[in-house]
C-alpha cells in the first residue's frame, strides 16, 4: 500500500457501517445500470426540427446558444417551382425581379439566385450567411411549395443536453432524433 493511502485500521463500528453503505451504493449503481442497460441506446441522438410543425416564429435565429444559430434554411430542390418571382427570395411586391438589395427578403442576403433557363431560376442557400430566421421559409410556404425550410445543421450544432431553441419553440417542432438519421428533410415522396 502506498504511503498516501490509509493504513489498515482496526474494523470499528463506523468502518463497518461505511463498508456496508459502500456495498449498498455499488449495488445501487449496478441496479441502475441493469435497469437502464436494456433501454439505453448505443446510438446517440441529435436535435432536429420537424418542418411540418415549424411555425416560422424567428426564434431559431435568436435563441440558439451559438452567436450565429446552428439552424439554417435548407432547400429541397425537387419540391421547388424554380419560380422567377420567388416569394422566399423577394420581398412582398418587389420593385423589380433582380438581385438588388432593395428586392431581397433575406436579412443577410444568404440566398443565391441563378438563372437556369427561361423562365426558371435556381435558389441556393449560403449557410455561412444564413442566420436561420425563417423569413424566406414563411414566404415560400405561404405562397409557394414550401421547398425552403429550417433544419439544424450538425456541423454547427453543439448538441446541448437541453436545446435552448426547443425550450421556447411555439410549434414544439424540435425534438431529438437518432444520430444515424440526423435530418428531417422534405422529400418528393410525402409521408
Amino acid at each position: 500500500m502506498a504511503a498516501g493511502l490509509s493504513q489498515e485500521e482496526p474494523v470499528n463500528r463506523r468502518q463497518f457501517l461505511r463498508g456496508g453503505l459502500r456495498v449498498a451504493a455499488m449495488t445501487g449503481v449496478g441496479a441502475l445500470v441493469g435497469a437502464l442497460a436494456g433501454r439505453s441506446a448505443t446510438d446517440g441522438t441529435v436535435w432536429q426540427i420537424d418542418p411540418a410543425r415549424c411555425l416560422r416564429c424567428g426564434q431559431c435565429a435568436t435563441e440558439c446558444v451559438l452567436e450565429q444559430s446552428a439552424v439554417k434554411c435548407v432547400h429541397t430542390h425537387a419540391i421547388c417551382g424554380y419560380c422567377e418571382l420567388c416569394t422566399g427570395y423577394f420581398v412582398p411586391d418587389p420593385n423589380a425581379l433582380n438581385t438588388g438589395a432593395e428586392n431581397q427578403l433575406c436579412p443577410t442576403a444568404a440566398i443565391r439566385r441563378k438563372y437556369v433557363e427561361d423562365p426558371y431560376y435556381e435558389y441556393t442557400i449560403d449557410e455561412n450567411l444564413c442566420i436561420g430566421c425563417g423569413k424566406c421559409v414563411e414566404g415560400c410556404n405561404r405562397f409557394g411549395n414550401g421547398s425552403l425550410y429550417l433544419q439544424i445543421r450538425h456541423d454547427r450544432c453543439l448538441n446541448c443536453n437541453e436545446c435552448s431553441i426547443a425550450r421556447v419553440c411555439p410549434g414544439d417542432a424540435i425534438h431529438r432524433v437518432p444520430a444515424r438519421h440526423p435530418y428531417l428533410l422534405k422529400t418528393t415522396v410525402s409521408h
Binding site: A101, E102, L129
Partner: protein, 600 residues
C-alpha cells in the same frame, strides 16, 4: 507559500520586490484588460443586436421611400450601399464576439498566472498558534451550523409557501375535468353549467324580457283584487327610478334589476323586491371599445331601451351606445365590453337573452347590404365570444327567444325580411322563413309547438319550427292579417294567442288555425306588450291604465286600475307580485312586504 523567506540577502530582496511590483502591475493591467474587453463585449453584444440589418430604421425609411418612387435608381443604389454596410457590420460583430471571448480568456489566464506568482512572492509563512479548545470550538461551530441549517430550512419553507400561494391555475388538476375545459372552449358543454341554477328556478323568476321563455305567460298567479294608487291598496311599494329607461324590469330571487341611461350616464339598479329599497346602483363607465363621442338617440327609444337579462348568477345590461356590462347579483362588475356602436336610426332596443351560461346577443344594425348584423353567443362568465354568426339583415328591434322547439334548443330571431332559427349550441342556422316587412319590433314567442311572429302592421304568422333551410313555403301553419300590432309582442297560453296593438285594439286568435275569436278596442294607446297571468290577460296602456280581461274565447273585462304614470315597459310577474316600470318609478303590485316569497 513561504517563498519570499527563501532569500535573505538585501540584493535578492530588492530584486524580489521589483519582480513583485512588476507582477502586481501585470495583475492590474490584466484585470483592467479583462474588464474593458468584458464590458466592450457586453456593450457590443447589445448594440449589434439593435443594429442588426433588419432593424435599421434608416434602411426601412429608404425602402418606404422607394415604394413611393419606384423608379429612383439613385435611391436603389443608396439602399444597396447601406445594406452592404449593415451586413458587413453584422458579420464583423459576430466575428468579434468570438475573438473577444478568446481575448477575455487570455486576459484571465495572464491575470491568474501573474496573480498567483505575485501572491506567492509575498505570501506569509503560516504561523499557526497552538489551539487547545478544539472540542469547545467544534461544539460551537456545530451549534451555529445547526442554527444556520435551520435558517436555510426556514428560508426554503418560506419560499415554498410563497410559491404555493401562486398555485391557482386555469388548468384543472384532475384529468377528468379536462373534458369539461375542452367542451367549454369549443362552446359545446358551454360554460360551467354546474354553477348555474336549475331550469325550475328560471321558471319561478322573470330573468329576461317577457318572462323566462319570452312568452309572458304564468299559470299560477293571483292578482290583488283591488288596486288603488291613491290610497295604496294592492300596492306593495313604489320607488323612484333615478335614470330613465324603456327597458322592462327583471326579477331574480328577491331582487329587481333595471337599467337606465341618458346620453352621458349609464347605470344598472338593483331593488329589493320585498321593500323596493334601492340595494345597489352601478355606473357603467370606461367600457373598452365604447364610443368616445356621445351618441344621439331619439327620445322615442332612449339610451336604455334593451331589457336586462340574468343567468341567475350575473345580470347583464346593454345600452343604446353598444356598451354591454355584466355584474354579479351583489353588484360587483364582472366584465364589460362593447360589441360596437349600433347603427340604428331609431336607437338600439333589442333585449338580451340567456341560455345555459351563454348570453345571446342579437346585434342587428345598419342596412342588410352592409353586412354588419351579427348574432353572438358570449360566455356569460367571461364575456368571451363563443360563436358569432353574420346575419343578412339590417337594423331590427325584436328580441330573440331560445326555445326547445322540435327537440332541439333553437334561437329564434326576427330581422329584416327573415325569421331565422339557429342551433343554440353552436349557432348553426337551422331554418329561415321569409315574410317580415318593415321595421321589425315585436318579438317572437313559442307556444303550443308553434313559433308566432309578427310582421309589423302586416301579418301574424304561425310557423312550425321543425324545418331545415328555407321553410317559407313549407312550414307556415297559418297567417292572419287582422289587427296586427307594430310594436308589441303577442302572448299565448297555448290555446289562444292575444295581441294588443298600439292603437289599443286587442285581438284573440285560435292557435290551431289562426281564426280570430274576438277583438276589442281598449281605447288607449299601448306600448307595453301584454302578459298572461293564470287566465287573465293584463294590458297596461301608455297612459298607465292597467286593464285585466279574461284570457278566454270571449272578451270579458275583469278590472281596471290607474297607475297614474306613463308606462312603456312590460310588467314582470313573480310570486303573485306584478312589477311595473313607469317612466318615473318602479311599482310593485301585490301583497305588502314580508309576504313576498320566491319559489326556488
Amino acid at each position: 507559500m513561504p517563498a519570499a523567506a527563501r532569500t535573505t540577502s538585501p540584493a535578492s530582496a530588492a530584486s524580489t520586490a521589483v519582480l513583485h511590483r512588476a507582477l502586481v502591475n501585470v495583475v492590474v493591467m490584466a484585470s483592467l484588460f479583462c474588464v474593458i474587453v468584458g464590458s466592450a463585449f457586453l456593450i457590443r453584444y447589445w448594440r449589434a443586436k439593435a443594429e442588426d440589418p433588419l432593424k435599421s430604421p434608416q434602411a426601412i425609411a429608404l425602402k418606404d421611400r422607394l415604394r413611393n418612387e419606384p423608379r429612383n435608381e439613385q435611391l436603389k443604389q443608396q439602399i444597396r450601399e447601406l445594406d452592404l454596410a449593415l451586413r458587413r457590420q453584422y458579420f464583423r460583430h459576430l466575428a468579434f464576439s468570438h475573438t473577444g471571448g478568446w481575448l477575455l480568456v487570455g486576459g484571465l489566464a495572464v491575470l491568474i498566472l501573474s496573480g498567483r506568482q505575485a501572491a506567492r512572492l509575498r505570501a506569509q509563512p503560516p504561523l499557526p498558534a497552538l489551539k487547545t479548545d478544539a472540542e469547545k470550538r467544534a461544539a460551537r461551530t456545530a451549534a451555529l451550523a445547526r442554527w444556520a441549517v435551520a435558517g436555510v430550512a426556514l428560508a426554503t419553507g418560506a419560499g415554498f409557501l410563497a410559491l404555493s400561494l401562486s398555485a391557482k391555475s386555469t388548468l384543472p388538476d384532475r384529468p377528468q375535468d379536462l373534458a369539461k375545459s375542452l367542451a367549454k372552449l369549443s362552446g359545446e358543454g358551454g360554460p360551467d353549467l354546474a354553477d348555474l341554477p336549475k331550469p325550475a328556478e328560471f321558471r319561478a323568476n322573470w330573468p329576461r324580457f317577457l318572462g323566462p321563455d319570452g312568452n309572458a305567460c304564468v299559470t299560477n298567479f293571483t292578482l290583488p283584487t283591488e288596486i288603488n294608487l291613491t290610497n295604496g291598496t294592492g300596492v306593495a311599494w313604489k320607488t323612484a327610478v333615478p335614470l330613465l329607461g324603456f327597458g322592462s324590469p327583471i326579477v331574480w330571487s328577491n331582487q329587481v334589476f333595471l337599467s337606465g341611461a341618458t346620453m352621458t350616464n349609464r347605470a344598472v339598479f338593483c331593488f329589493d323586491a320585498a321593500t323596493g329599497a334601492l340595494v345597489w346602483q352601478r355606473p357603467v363607465t370606461n367600457v373598452p371599445g365604447s364610443p368616445a363621442q356621445p351618441l344621439e338617440i331619439p327620445d322615442s327609444t332612449g339610451y336604455a331601451a334593451p331589457t336586462m337579462a340574468t343567468d341567475g348568477r350575473r345580470v347583464f345590461a346593454w345600452f343604446g351606445n353598444g356598451d354591454l356590462a355584466a355584474f354579479t347579483l351583489a353588484g360587483a362588475p364582472v366584465w364589460a365590453k362593447s360589441l360596437g356602436v349600433p347603427k340604428n336610426m331609431y336607437g338600439h332596443a333589442t333585449s338580451l337573452a340567456c341560455w345555459q351560461g351563454r348570453l345571446i346577443v342579437q346585434f342587428d344594425q345598419g342596412e342588410p347590404e352592409e353586412g354588419k348584423s351579427r348574432l353572438y353567443a358570449l360566455d356569460s362568465a367571461s364575456g368571451r365570444v363563443l360563436w358569432q354568426k353574420s346575419r343578412p339583415v339590417g337594423a331590427s328591434w325584436a328580441t330573440p327567444i331560445v326555445a326547445d322547439a322540435a327537440g332541439k334548443p333553437q334561437i329564434i330571431t326576427l330581422g329584416g325580411k327573415w325569421v331565422i332559427a339557429y342551433a343554440a349550441k353552436d349557432g348553426t342556422e337551422l331554418w329561415r322563413f321569409q315574410g317580415l316587412n318593415g321595421e321589425v319590433t315585436p318579438s317572437p314567442i313559442f307556444a303550443a309547438g308553434l313559433v308566432f311572429v309578427i310582421s309589423p302592421s302586416d301579418q301574424l304568422f304561425a310557423i312550425r319550427p321543425d324545418g331545415f333551410g328555407d321553410v317559407t313555403k313549407t312550414h307556415q301553419a297559418w297567417a292572419s292579417d287582422e289587427n296586427v300590432p307594430d310594436i308589441t309582442s303577442p302572448v299565448s297560453d297555448g290555446e289562444l294567442v292575444f295581441t294588443a296593438a298600439s292603437s289599443g285594439l286587442a285581438t284573440c286568435f285560435d292557435t290551431k288555425d289562426g281564426k280570430k275569436l274576438w277583438e276589442q278596442d281598449l281605447e288607449s294607446e299601448i306600448n307595453a306588450s301584454p302578459v298572461l297571468a293564470a287566465g287573465r290577460l293584463i294590458v297596461i296602456t301608455k297612459k298607465g291604465t292597467l286593464i285585466v280581461a279574461a284570457a278566454a274565447r270571449e272578451f270579458k273585462l275583469i278590472a281596471k286600475a290607474e297607475l297614474r304614470e306613463n308606462v312603456l315597459a312590460s310588467p314582470a310577474l313573480v310570486a303573485n307580485h306584478l312589477f311595473v316600470r313607469t317612466t318615473k318609478s318602479l311599482i310593485c303590485l301585490g301583497a305588502k312586504a314580508g309576504t313576498l316569497e320566491v319559489k326556488r
